[in-house]
Symmetry: C2
């Protein structure tokens, strides 16, 4: 009978040094001894990605995405064989595979490719031969054998996709934190580790700034009903299981966590002639420049004109403003305003659905601390407020208290 | 009409820093402006291979060759896209390709793979689109998409193989010396740069310790009659052209150069029963351990026993001795002796063929300086003497003078 498959993903901080790699090797060896066929997905070692980006910035002002993908993919090309060697040293048969060898097929959108297929034949053959398979995360192969990378958090996505393709028993994401908390423990010392969180909640938390898991990985996990187990590389402990809402018995009707994101800028296109297609005219050029507009608010039209405001990350602010100046001219808008130094704070939980009391509690908690709300946006399971960046720590603490997390 | 193809290979010292990479980029750009379709082959940056080997040694005592190949191949995976980015920055369209993308097919002998085929379709397509193609040297792809490396000097081999496959007009090997000299200029200040040298001479020089070109690259060049132009990355100057003997007008009947190699050990299996198959019994186990036996001398058989002596590189000495102890027991030889601290000194030139005077001159020159000859070996175009390592500098100078180089 085939052994159950376990996928374990290790991030860069766990793999920062040869000693760290050996420690990871011992953990993998223990999983294999426990009776699993183990597939390991690794990120690049420690700060190696930053080092490569620095090199690139010193030969070119704006390195082409295609070449950058090739360059950055070497990070995992280093860590994967090193983990395999560490396993050999522990007497564990192992083989490392780059993305193209592991059958990770993607589209050709360099720097943010999406996995479009996975041919696990080679992985399965190696597992059947009794080997631990160490896969270089974050990378794949597109048409014409072009090397691609999956963007930030891409190794999580690799792990989940492999787990889904192999119908793994479990997919463990080892990281430098102990799991998913009700809020950032650096901001809220009383923040509580969540034992379970539902996919949509995790998605909203991740999109709202909680950096533990990449949203794309959570989406794939949900699509394949693959439970994810987020745990610490450095400490024992239960961690957090990301699963379907049905699998969560406790706390069905509550706010589950508070997320935040600093470094937010707001842009407003003022005096926009209100006619069909105007939103596309504004956002398409931004999307082309790969700038994600986040919270979007359109004011009610008044005398045929409207204002369109939205947030972007601070880093994208100047470029977005430049683009919008052109757009504003083209569509006959009055002017473009921008404001930096903002932050996003969100409450997330499936309990938000259909409970207007949650929003009221959130707004009251912020107002009691005299924190001004600049913009509001909501989804089924999330309420987000844009506030002054200076107040984000206060806001997170206030909300954590107000919702008794 | 298609433009002529020029292949240019750049070694690690030229690519050691971002500034060096930009400098290489300017040289390539000039070649393209001069009317060539340019294919560039690059080695890993500066000391990056050593850095990767150190990492490997810190996670495993004897890293598996397969995993080491994957690890080391990332060195060229870094330099190739950086050179491509530097070209973009100079306004030159360029694309970098890893070994598997460039169609470099090899056998599966990890760490010393041989190129068995080359499918240049992708390279040709990129050239036709007006791009400089930057190929990661030293690496290829074997069966089952296994990444392989070609061993020391492998990037030279990549360059020559591509030049042959594309029927290039020329293949330039940029290195940190000005070309091929009549002797090591650090030993013989009056050493002269050779303008031309024949393939067999270069092969013998390379095998005899001249480290500028890898023998395998010279072999392929000869097989395809591809002239190689060895030149300095750092200085202008004519360099040395490696070509057929017919193409050399000057100095047809002379010794062309003196080569040397330090760090040589001698091993002797003493009292070997002289019967067919005995040489294979001795050398097959060494070959399996990947130890190259170099100068081999078998004494005349006396009363049914013989002595077999040969040299290996000092680094391989202890392991070779261990292996031979076992072999000696098995074949009933008397004992194994080993001696370290030796060196090889050779004179090379097609003029050696059929001219016994050359050997006599060599032996006399050494004896006049009271340098003892431990072993002698000859080929069509080379005479090698094994001597004490302490005397190698004297010996090279003496031979350089005796042959009026």
């Amino acid at each position: 009978m085939p052994r159950p498959v376990l996928v374990q993903k290790f991030g860069g901080t766990s793999l920062g040094t040869p000693a760290g790699i050996t420690r990871v090797g011992r953990r993998i060896a223990a999983s294999q001894r426990a009776g699993y066929d183990v597939v390991v997905v690794v990120s690049a070692m420690g700060d190696s990605t930053d080092r490569l980006l620095t090199l690139a910035s010193r030969v070119a002002k704006e390195p082409a995405a295609r070449e950058l993908d090739l360059l950055l993919s070497t990070g995992e090309g280093v860590s994967a064989p090193l983990v395999s060697m560490a396993l050999h040293e522990l007497g564990v048969p192992a083989v490392s595979l780059l993305g193209f060898q592991a059958g990770i097929q993607t589209d050709r959108r360099h720097a943010k490719a999406r996995i479009v297929g996975l041919t696990p034949a080679r992985i399965e053959r190696e597992l059947a031969a009794g080997r631990v398979v160490v896969v270089a995360g974050f990378q794949g192969i597109g048409d014409e054998m072009e090397v691609t990378t999956l963007g930030r958090g891409g190794s999580d996505t690799t792990a989940v996709a492999i787990a889904a393709a192999l119908k793994a028993r479990a997919c463990e994401i080892f990281t430098d934190v102990r799991g998913i908390y009700t809020a950032d423990p650096r901001f809220v010392p009383s923040a509580r580790l969540l034992r379970r969180i539902a996919y949509p909640e995790m998605l909203e938390l991740a999109s709202a700034g909680a950096r533990v898991m990449h949203p794309r990985a959570v989406e794939i996990a949900e699509a394949f009903s693959m439970e994810l187990h987020v745990r610490s590389s450095f400490h024992a402990g239960p961690g957090t299981i990301i699963c379907s809402e049905e699998a969560i018995m406790e706390d069905r009707n509550r706010v589950r966590g508070v997320a935040h994101e600093e470094h937010v800028a707001r842009l407003s296109v003022v005096g926009v002639p209100d006619r069909p297609g105007i939103a596309a005219a504004i956002f398409a050029p931004l999307a082309e420049a790969d700038i994600a507009a986040d919270v979007i608010v359109q004011t009610a039209s008044h005398e045929g004109v409207t204002d369109m405001s939205f947030t972007v990350s601070s880093a994208d602010g100047p470029q977005a403003e430049r683009i919008l100046q052109g757009v504003a001219r083209d569509i006959g808008a009055r002017t473009v305003l921008s404001q930096n130094g903002l932050a996003k704070v969100s409450v997330v939980g499936s309990g938000i659905r259909g409970q207007p009391g949650v929003a009221a509690t959130m707004f009251r908690a912020l107002s009691e601390r005299r924190i001004n709300i600049e913009m509001i946006s909501t989804s089924e399971v999330r309420i987000t407020c844009i506030i002054d960046a200076d107040r984000v720590k206060d806001a997170v603490a206030a909300l954590h208290e107000a919702f008794k997390l």
